[in-house]
């Protein structure tokens, strides 16, 4: 093939092919267009801005811009006492307040080296798992909206409201609880707690099946998500992915098992990993599937905890909370499995002050989102929406 000449007009090229035929070829390359998605965009799950360089409908590169919700969490930690940080951890990951509180509290407890009463551990796990279900329901519901299915959103929020009512009944707040405290809990659970959670579990079990039939097995939904945004396991690990994102890539990694905390070693539950039959391993559908299956596992955990939870007459959940929290000098990195992955806290104490010298929050979404550039390469713009939805970001946690 040999290029004979180029006409400026219409950007046509005259080419002699290998078999000596001369053809005139029109150059159909288009100019790249920069398309800005966000910070106010209905499908970015918050104030995220994606700057997409597009070639027609194909995304050449998508660069996320964050910081629109940077609320100075780490600065606050250096200015306030250890127990006062707990409400701010709520506001960090506002969809899973209980889980983030738990992650922070077990980190400080590691530094303090105190033993927690068994009943407190059970209550913590139950509330954390309830919150995990609520968080996954939002993730699944809004993922449906992103792909044009509005009804699952209403179904999810109907059931989430029941969990929120339960947690409000326990802690006094619907979303941002300040319930798990360093060394204990703010209050013991009310008298009917076991009964009401049990009622919820038996109510919710058929609803999970309903949701699966409605969304996960929906033909249109599967078509939109299967094979989109595939992430191989090694790359996912190198990116530091965690939680359902990493498990969606086929890596059986769950901090509740691999770095056990609280009473998780005593409980029986599976770690759902896609087997490649229903979805391609590592694609958006796998990530959604893992979340959907995790709801079942969380229900299993709650049931076991309700059975095993010791009843203590006149139980005081604040009994072992130190009067003044002033850990000895040292540093610690503690973490827990949140609905979105590993949330870790790196805390440095100087041994003199009641405030941490440094408290860094390792956010799961921040790390998961950093792979966006790789994930979006060569995808169509509508598929980009499917990929962002499958990452399930909470901007409060990304920007902190």
């Amino acid at each position: 093939m040999q290029e004979l000449g180029k006409a400026e007009l219409n950007s046509t090229r005259i080419i002699r092919q290998d078999d000596n035929r001369v053809i005139i070829e029109k150059d159909l390359d288009t100019e790249y267009m920069v398309l800005s998605m966000g910070p106010q965009h209905p499908s970015t799950h918050g104030v995220l801005r994606l700057e997409c360089i597009t070639d027609g409908e194909v995304v050449v590169e998508a660069e996320p811009y964050l910081g629109y919700l940077h609320r100075c969490f780490e600065k606050y930690c250096e200015k306030i006492d250890y127990p006062a940080i707990v409400p701010y951890t709520d506001r960090m990951d506002y969809l899973a307040g209980m889980n983030t509180e738990l992650a922070y509290c077990i980190t400080v407890e590691k530094l303090l080296d105190i033993e927690i009463p068994r009943r407190v551990e059970f209550i913590r796990v139950i509330t954390a798992e309830l919150n995990r279900i609520a968080s996954h329901l939002v993730a699944i519901g809004t993922y449906g909206i992103d792909l044009g299915a509005f009804t699952p959103f209403l179904f999810c929020f109907r059931d989430r409201e029941i969990i929120l009512n339960l947690l409000e009944w326990i802690s006094g707040a619907r979303m941002l609880y300040n319930y798990v405290w360093i060394g204990g809990l703010s209050y013991d659970v009310p008298a009917d707690f076991k009964k009401r959670v049990d009622e919820f579990v038996s109510y919710f079990k058929p609803k999970v099946v309903e949701l699966r039939e409605l969304l996960t097995e929906n033909e249109i939904f599967v078509k939109r998500t299967k094979g989109i945004g595939i992430m191989p396991a090694e790359v996912a690990i190198n990116y530091g992915w965690s939680g359902p994102m990493l498990r969606g890539s086929g890596v059986k990694w769950d901090l509740r098992r691999n770095d056990p905390y609280s009473i998780y070693p005593e409980l029986e539950f599976d770690i759902p990993v896609p087997d490649g039959k229903f979805s391609d391993v590592g694609d958006s559908l796998s990530r959604h599937l893992v979340r959907a299956l995790e709801i079942d596992e969380s229900l299993k955990i709650i049931e076991q905890c309700l059975d095993k939870m010791p009843e203590v007459a006149g139980f005081d959940p604040r009994a072992v909370i130190p009067k003044r929290i002033r850990p000895k000098a040292g540093e610690v990195y503690g973490r827990a499995e949140n609905p979105r992955g590993e949330v870790g806290f790196y805390i440095v104490s100087d041994g003199k002050s009641t405030k941490p010298l440094r408290c860094k929050a390792r956010s799961s979404c921040f790390v998961n989102l950093s792979a966006m550039k790789d994930l979006s390469k060569g995808q169509l713009i509508p598929d980009l929406v499917a990929i962002i939805g499958s990452i399930d970001i909470v901007l409060g946690e990304v920007d902190r």
Binding site: K75, L111, N238, V251, Y333
Partner: protein, 177 residues
């Protein structure tokens, strides 16, 4: 002396012992470039003294068959005001290979100091290093895209430094109250 060391070793938990074993492999390879092992029970760590070799150490940690620290869990910037230094603390683990974990510290001068970037070794480091730069102002040599990530591009000062003073106004909006 040896006896005291042995006793100290016995007290070490299984987790710390694993980290110690991993550290020994790194020490054997890099010698004086890394500091002594700090066997505290909450977060065992060592420090990279020769910062120029940090990328070599990182690659060795990731690729050596006995270590396989394939995942960087966290990278935090820290301000050591008393020492006049800035630093990073990285937590590593090995997903699917071993159960050991270790933390590494790298420090640099407070004013105009720089640390080699490991974003080519672990992708996680890319955004975390940008964040550390945004908050503390240390430069990461060889970083592909070192810009502010959380604060706006035209923000002045590095917020998490201990001596940070908030700017009075930003684009005509009063900042502190």
């Amino acid at each position: 002396m040896d006896k005291a060391m042995e006793e100290a070793g016995n007290i070490m938990s299984a987790m710390v012992q694993e980290s110690k074993a991993a550290y020994d492999i790194i020490r054997e390879r890099f010698g004086e470039a890394v500091s002594e092992f700090d066997a505290n029970p909450t977060m065992p760590f060592f420090e990279v003294l020769d910062t120029a070799r940090w990328v070599d150490i990182a690659l060795f940690m990731r690729d050596d068959a006995r270590l396989k620290f394939n995942c960087m869990a966290c990278l935090s910037g820290v301000d050591y005001l008393e020492e006049g230094k800035l630093g990073i603390v990285c937590n590593f683990e090995s997903i699917g290979q071993y159960t050991h974990r270790i933390a590494v510290k790298v420090k640099c001068q407070r004013d105009g100091g720089s640390i080699p970037s490991v974003s080519c070794v672990w992708h996680t480091a890319n955004w975390h290093e940008r964040e550390a730069y945004d908050m503390y102002g240390m430069v990461f040599d060889g970083h592909p895209d070192l810009r502010r990530i959380l604060c706006p591009e035209d923000w002045t000062g590095f917020p998490l430094r201990k001596d940070y003073q908030v700017q009075e106004t930003y684009h005509g909006i009063k900042v502190p109250y």
